[in-house]
Symmetry: C2
């Protein structure tokens, strides 16, 4: 249980003047983040809790794919990137570069294909060593010219990046489809499933298409076209007559939307394997290149997208799976503290997390705060609620409150939160 | 359960030629880390699991102190550091600096007193807002001239840094003692308690002493002096006649040791509060400076220290609390796979984590591997073990194995691992 009196970065009524994006405005007001500089945000107690919940949802899906979690460095050896011809600022235009004390220039990782391929070349020799799947939650640094979408496009952000190493195209294709499904599971679990579309996007040297996961939102920086009947979505970047023809869709049946790219999956072919000599010997003794794929989700951008999607004029409305707390418990009088603690302990034993506002603020302030922070259920224990027969419970996404008997609170929460 | 066939960064017999330190040699051979460049290591599956366990142990102690977990940025606004006069490379000689796309120079955080003090100045106004305690597990970048102690001194590492904001010296002193105890708990929990000493070290402008936590080890870069009878330890940097006199210890009673600094706690006084105008109004309406403290532990260095402390000629010997898995389960014949899975499921249900080597390697290779990786208990299910009456169980830190009946395996593990 988290007492609100022990939350040191409380909510604020001031709307930050220098934020254009709704996600940053709401998250700052609600005490989830703090802006440190343009494109750099600190995650505060609530924000960090939600971030960890998103990370855990992604982690579980990655582990189901039999992927190994690792953590690579941010500091990058230029030699590694020269090998793949991506050290140059004209090839990757978001490099941050710095210098070692001895004057050697080094980089800050904006992605990790190169260093991980290099590492895996030490572990992969035979067809018996393949396939391999490795992922991490690791900070990426990208020197963006402009950073204006709150936590959705920042100069420094945690990325879940998964990389696959396969014996051949077929093995890659099979895994790629599994990742696609894992991503769909993730977006469903964080509450964005209905608004998120697997979207055809540009491929690269080794594949006609990559796939993006695009969440429809007015805050989006991308344009996508959806054929709702065929359930096909296409990024504007591949919106050509030829490709529409390939996909069997007609312009007249496509609707245009703004959307946020919340994930992308990419077949890399043998580009990196060739650059780093990542080969294996097959059953017949023949040496072959490993075939790779890469798969990304930014937990911070996902958090921003959730806020853009679920809010009203009073604040954020978190899906239960990623709310910092399941329950926002309010008392108005110290004399109820003992009873409140007992109830909260019971609720936490049942597996729900509780934020308890036991401060000296007024009822009005506490209700406004609860709406701003946006936990799924608000519970009030007061003189009035007791007289009415128990606890006044109100889901954040409903106008209506119910009086629930203390004895029934667990079954109420179980029922309401598992909707 | 983790199948060893699905570990993609397996152990190696080669001793890395370019590593002087035992921790890096063992951790690389055992598949815990990979060296990316001097002073930068990737944590692989096993290493990342151990790192997360150390982090969780520290996190629980921090939460008990009512500290809020946050996550600040790595990219640093120079203005923030100019305010405290620490932007200059002559003041902090381990800065990494880089540039935004618009040419503005920025830094990579080597510590976070400045940005957090700045943030807290937005939340603290009144005595009612104090004290505050905030901590994070965040990457620090330090441009070390030499990096030669494996994962104990790197150019990039995760740090647990806790900061306290108090109304006055007395409140700081009380919390400082609580942190000292929390640190002792942490070092006890990770198995380093007996060899770790609270050590007097140099203070700063606001305090005669700071305290370090020093673990006695031949791999240490520090020299400390211990009076074992009085249980007082002193860092060489404050080993002067005056200070010995202050502490009431005699040179003749001090023994010299090499030691690894695994933690430090520091009273900062009002230095940063003054630089950032972090003030509060007291009960009488008087405006006062907030009094700060900072408290650090590097989980990576702690991991390196554990490896330096617990190893033998065959490999690492992990304390159970931080082992990547509690049990290293070995089968030698596929026909035992079904039975093995049932037993492992039972063991995992009881709360133990299992690494299962079901590969086609020889028994000798599997035993050598188990010793190298260093999980606390090795369990063998084989034709021979079954004939002997069950499972052959051997603690990593013992020469002796026991045959344990399948029905008794949970109570055996509970007893052996809780020693």
């Amino acid at each position: 249980m988290q007492r609100y009196s022990l939350v040191y970065t409380k909510t604020t009524k001031q709307t930050p003047g220098d934020e254009q994006s709704k996600n940053a405005q709401l998250l700052i007001k609600a005490g989830f983040i703090n802006k440190e500089m343009a494109g750099v945000y600190a995650y505060l107690l609530f924000g960090h809790k939600t971030l960890l919940k998103i990370i855990q949802i992604i982690r579980e899906e990655m582990n189901k794919l039999n992927a190994n979690e690792v953590l690579l460095g941010s500091l990058q050896n230029p030699q590694t990137w020269v090998a793949s011809k991506r050290w140059g600022d004209s090839v990757i235009d978001v490099w941050f570069k710095t210098k070692l004390a001895n004057g050697t220039q080094i980089g800050l990782a904006n992605t990790h294909e190169e260093p991980l391929t290099k590492i895996m070349s030490e572990y992969v020799n035979s067809y018996k060593d393949l396939p391999c799947y490795l992922y991490q939650f690791q900070t990426k640094f990208r020197n963006e010219l402009r950073a204006k979408s709150g936590i959705m496009r920042t100069r420094e952000f945690i990325m879940k990046d998964l990389y696959s190493f396969s014996k051949n195209q077929e093995e890659l294709d099979t895994f790629y489809e599994k990742v696609k499904q894992a991503y769909i599971n993730i977006f469903n679990k964080v509450g964005l499933g209905e608004k998120t579309y697997v979207t055809f996007a540009s491929g690269g040297a080794f594949s006609k298409f990559s796939h993006e996961f695009q969440t429809i939102s007015e805050a989006g920086e991308d344009i996508i076209y959806i054929d709702h009947q065929k359930n096909i979505a296409i990024n504007k970047e591949v919106y050509t007559d030829e490709i529409l023809n390939d996909l069997g869709v007609k312009k007249s049946e496509l609707k245009e939307y703004k959307a946020i790219e919340v994930g992308n999956i990419f077949k890399l072919g043998t580009k990196y394997a060739k650059a780093f000599g990542l080969n294996y010997t097959d059953k017949k003794g023949k040496v072959k290149n490993v075939v790779m794929g890469s798969y990304g989700i930014g937990p911070g951008r996902l958090m921003g997208t959730i806020v853009e999607t679920f809010n009203d004029e009073r604040g954020i409305i978190w899906p239960n799976s990623v709310a910092p707390y399941n329950v926002h418990f309010i008392t108005l009088d110290k004399k109820h503290n003992k009873q409140a603690e007992e109830i909260i302990n019971k609720i936490e034993k049942a597996g729900f997390e509780v934020l308890w506002d036991e401060t000296e603020s007024t009822a009005g302030e506490k209700f406004a705060n609860a709406d701003l922070i946006g936990c799924p259920i608000r519970i009030l224990l007061s003189e009035k609620s007791i007289k009415s027969g128990g606890l006044e419970c109100k889901p954040r996404n409903s106008q209506k409150s119910d009086i629930i008997k203390e004895a029934d609170i667990i079954s109420y929460l179980t029922k309401t939160l598992n909707l």
